[in-house]
Symmetry: none
Subunit: 417 residues, 2 copies
C-alpha cells in the first residue's frame, strides 16, 4: 500500500510550529508496512489543499491528512475531501448529539459554527476525538482511502493509535510488511562505507541507505516481506553480511545509547571509571554522565589539553611526550593508566589526537586519534583516522572510546577486586 501524508496549516509553512507529526506518523506507518512515498504541507487555502489531494489520489492508495477539522472558517479539510472524491457533505446526527451534550454539560448553547463539525463526506467512518471536540474520519471510494486527523498532537496521537492503526492493520494483512535496522559506524567516511557495501545494494529485495552525521554514519537496512517474519528475516540476513563487512567500525545499533550500555556493564561488574581526555576535552565525561545514576560508577576525569597537565597531573613520563609525542599510543596508554591511578578507579580511558583544523602533519594528519582503555589486567590502545572536521573528529573519537569500553567490558571475565 502506497501512502502520502498531507499536513495542512499555514503555521507549518511559515515555520511557526515544528512539524512533529511528520516523524511520528512516518514511523507508525512504516512500522505497519505502509510504503510512504511523499509528505506535502500546504496552507489553509482551498486551492492548495484540493490540488494536493487530487495529485496524491493519482499516486497513492492511502492519504492521511492532518489539521483543518476545527470550527473556524480556515478549517477546510472535510469539505475539500468531499469535493475531490465527488461526495456530498452530510450531517451526522450522532456527532451532532455529542456536540450538544458537550455544551449542555457546560450550560452553554452550541455556538453556530460548531455544528460544522457534524458534517462529513457521505459514507465516512467517524473517529471520536478523546481530547478535543473535532472528530476525524475515514472515507473510502474506488479503492482509495482518505484518513483525516486533527492537527493538535494530543488529539491526533490517540485517534491514530486507537482507530486508524486497527483499521489499517486489517487492510494490510494482505500487503507487505516493512522491517528495518540501523547500523551506526564511526572512524570511516560515508563514501568508504558505501564502497564496502556497494555490491550488496538492491540484493534480495533489501534496501541500503546511508546518512552521514558528525562523527558517525548510519547504514539503514530495510526490507518489505509478505509478513513480519519474512521482512525480519530478510533484514537479519543482510545485517549479518553488513556486520561482517563493517566489523569494528560498528559502535551501536538503532536508537541504542552506547553510554547507557557501557554504564550498565560497569555497574554490573562493580567497576568504577575515570577518563583522561585531550582532543575530546570532556566530551566522553559529559556523555557518560548524561546517564541518570552514573555517579555510582563515574568518579571524575582530567581534561589534559596542555602537555603540562598530561605530565604533572596524569604522570605521563616526559620521555614519552618527548620521544613519542603527545599524540601517540604510548601517551594514550599512560593517560588511561594515569587517570585510573590518580582517581583510584578500576577502569580508565585515555584519548589523544588531532582534531584540526590546524596541527596536522604528513605523519600525524588531522583526524588521527589514539584511544586507550585500561581495565583490570589489561590496557588496549587503538589508532583511528576520523574523517570530517573538528567537531566530527571529536564526536567520532567519543563514540569510538565508548565502544572500546563496552567491547572490553563485554569480553572481560573478571570482576572488581
Amino acid at each position: 500500500m502506497r501512502a502520502e501524508i498531507i499536513f495542512t496549516g499555514t503555521e507549518l509553512l511559515l515555520g511557526q510550529v515544528l512539524n512533529t507529526h511528520a516523524q511520528c506518523l512516518g514511523q507508525e506507518l512504516a512500522a505497519l508496512g505502509v510504503e510512504i512515498v511523499r509528505h506535502t504541507t500546504v496552507g489553509d487555502d482551498w486551492e492548495g489543499l484540493t490540488s494536493a489531494l487530487r495529485e496524491a489520489l493519482r499516486r497513492a492508495d492511502l492519504i492521511i491528512t492532518t489539521g483543518g477539522l476545527g470550527p473556524t472558517s480556515d478549517d477546510l479539510t472535510l469539505a475539500a475531501v468531499a469535493d475531490v472524491l465527488g461526495l456530498p457533505l452530510v450531517r451526522n446526527e450522532t456527532v451532532l448529539s455529542w456536540i450538544k451534550e458537550y455544551f449542555a454539560r457546560r450550560g452553554q448553547a452550541v455556538p453556530e459554527n460548531l455544528t460544522r463539525q457534524a458534517y462529513f463526506p457521505e459514507g465516512a467512518i467517524v473517529l471520536p476525538n478523546a481530547a478535543g471536540t473535532a472528530p476525524g474520519c475515514i472515507v473510502e471510494k474506488e479503492g482509495k482511502i482518505i484518513v483525516s486527523l486533527p492537527g493538535p498532537p494530543r488529539e491526533l496521537t490517540p485517534m491514530f493509535e486507537d482507530h486508524v492503526v486497527p483499521f489499517l492493520s486489517k487492510r494490510l494483512a494482505r500487503g507487505g510488511v516493512l522491517n528495518f535496522r540501523v547500523v551506526r559506524v564511526t572512524g570511516i567516511a560515508e563514501y568508504a562505507v558505501q564502497d564496502l557495501l556497494r555490491d550488496l545494494e538492491g540484493k534480495e529485495k533489501v534496501q541500503l541507505g546511508y546518512i552521514a552525521k558528525p562523527g558517525e554514519v548510519h547504514v539503514r537496512i530495510a526490507a518489505v516481506g509478505r509478513d513480519a517474519a519474512e521482512a525480519q528475516q530478510l533484514v537479519a540476513r543482510m545485517l549479518k553480511e553488513v556486520r561482517a563487512r563493517l566489523g569494528d567500525y560498528i559502535f551501536a545499533y538503532d536508537e541504542e545509547s552506547i553510554e547507557e550500555v557501557a554504564g550498565k556493564l560497569l555497574a554490573a561488574k562493580g567497576y568504577t571509571i575515570a577518563v583522561a581526555e585531550s582532543c575530546t576535552a570532556g566530551m566522553v565525561a559529559a556523555r557518560l554522565t548524561d546517564v541518570p545514576g552514573s555517579s555510582a560508577y563515574f568518579m571524575g576525569g582530567i581534561v589534559a589539553y596542555d602537555n603540562k597537565v598530561k605530565e604533572k597531573i596524569l604522570g605521563v613520563q616526559t620521555e614519552i611526550l618527548r620521544d613519542k609525542g603527545a599524540v601517540s599510543p604510548e601517551t594514550a596508554a599512560a593517560m588511561a593508566e594515569g587517570v585510573r591511578r590518580l582517581l583510584c578507579t578500576d577502569t580508565g580511558i585515555g584519548i589523544t589526537g588531532i582534531a584540526g583544523p590546524t596541527g596536522g602533519t604528513p605523519e600525524k594528519p588531522v583526524g588521527l586519534v589514539y584511544i586507550a582503555v585500561a581495565v583490570p589486567g589489561q590496557t588496549v590502545v587503538k589508532k583511528y583516522n576520523f574523517p570530517g572536521r573538528r567537531f566530527a573528529v571529536r564526536q567520532g573519537a567519543a563514540n569510538a572510546a565508548l565502544k572500546m569500553l563496552r567491547d572490553l567490558l563485554e569480553n572481560d571475565g573478571g570482576s572488581s577486586p
Copy 2:
C-alpha cells in the same frame, strides 16, 4: 515571489529523522517576505524527486531543495535539477580543487565517488560549504530559481544564511523588509519569560516569538519595515525594552557563540583558563575547546564528579564539603580557585549542582547550581535554578558559566601579570 521547499531523504519519510529544516527555512523565508506555498518531502528516488521538482516548477518561482548532495549513489539532487531544467551537468574545476586539497591535507588520494561532488548544472552559482565537503548551488533558468542545499543542519544553516539570504534579499528588494534579532536567555522557564514580556506583544508592528530549547529559551523579535532602516529601528527599539526586562538572564544574541566570544577575550588579555566541573562533567571544557585555536588559552580541566576528587585533586577543604555541602557557593568557589592553582592558570571556573532526576531535597532542589568564576583579583559566585530535566539543567549551567566568564572578562580592567 512564490516559493516551495522540497526535502529529500527516505529517513524523513520514514520518520527516522525529525525535519527541523521545515521550521527554520520556513521562518527565514517568511522573514524575507517570500510567500511559501508548499513543502514536499520525497525519498531518495529518481522518480519521486524529478516529479516533485517538475510540479513545483509549474507553481512556484523559487524552489529550495535540501539533501541529496553527498557522494553516494542515493544522492540524486543535482542530477535531478539538471534533468528537469534541461541542462547538462558540468565539472566545476574550482570545486574539484577544493576536494583535492581537502584530501591532500589528510595525505589521501581523492576517492573516486567524491569527484561526483564537483558536477553542477550548467551555469550554477556554487555555494561553498563551511562545515562539510558537499557544496550547494543556485541555478536560474527562464525566471525560475532552484536553490540546492545540503541535508545536515550544521551545513545547511550557515550556507543558507551566508549565501542564500543575501542572494534572495537582492531579488526581493522591492517588497517590505524584515529584520529580526534573537535574544537567548538561560536560568528561566519559557512561560516565565513570556510573563515578563506579555504586555509588549504585538506593540508597534513588532512580533515576539518564543522557542524553548534544552537549557535556553530563544526570544525572537521581528518587524517588517518599508525599508531596512525602518525594520532595524523597530527591532532595536523593542530589543532595548526586552533587554531591560530580561537583564541578567540573557547570555547571547542571535547565532553568537559565547565560547568563541569568551575565548577571544581570554586571548586578548593573555589569560589562560582551567575548569572544574561537577554536574556539567566536561560540558564547559568541551564547549571552550570547540573553538579552533583554543589550545592557546585553555590548559585543561578536572571533572570532579565524586567528592573525593573535589577534595583530593582540587583541594576543596573537608570542612567545606562537610559543613556547607558539595552543592554550595563555598564549594563552587573552592573548585574554581583550586583548579586555577592546580593547573597554574590565570582564570578558573567551578560548577557544582543537582542535575537530577534524583538527588534533590526541599532545600537543594533539582536544578540548583552554583557557578564560580575566578579571575585575577576576584572570585564571583552565582546561584541558579535551572528549569527542565537533567540535560536541560546541564546545558543551562554550561551557558550560564560561559556568560559569567565573558561578563567578568569584559569588566576586568587588569591584564596578565
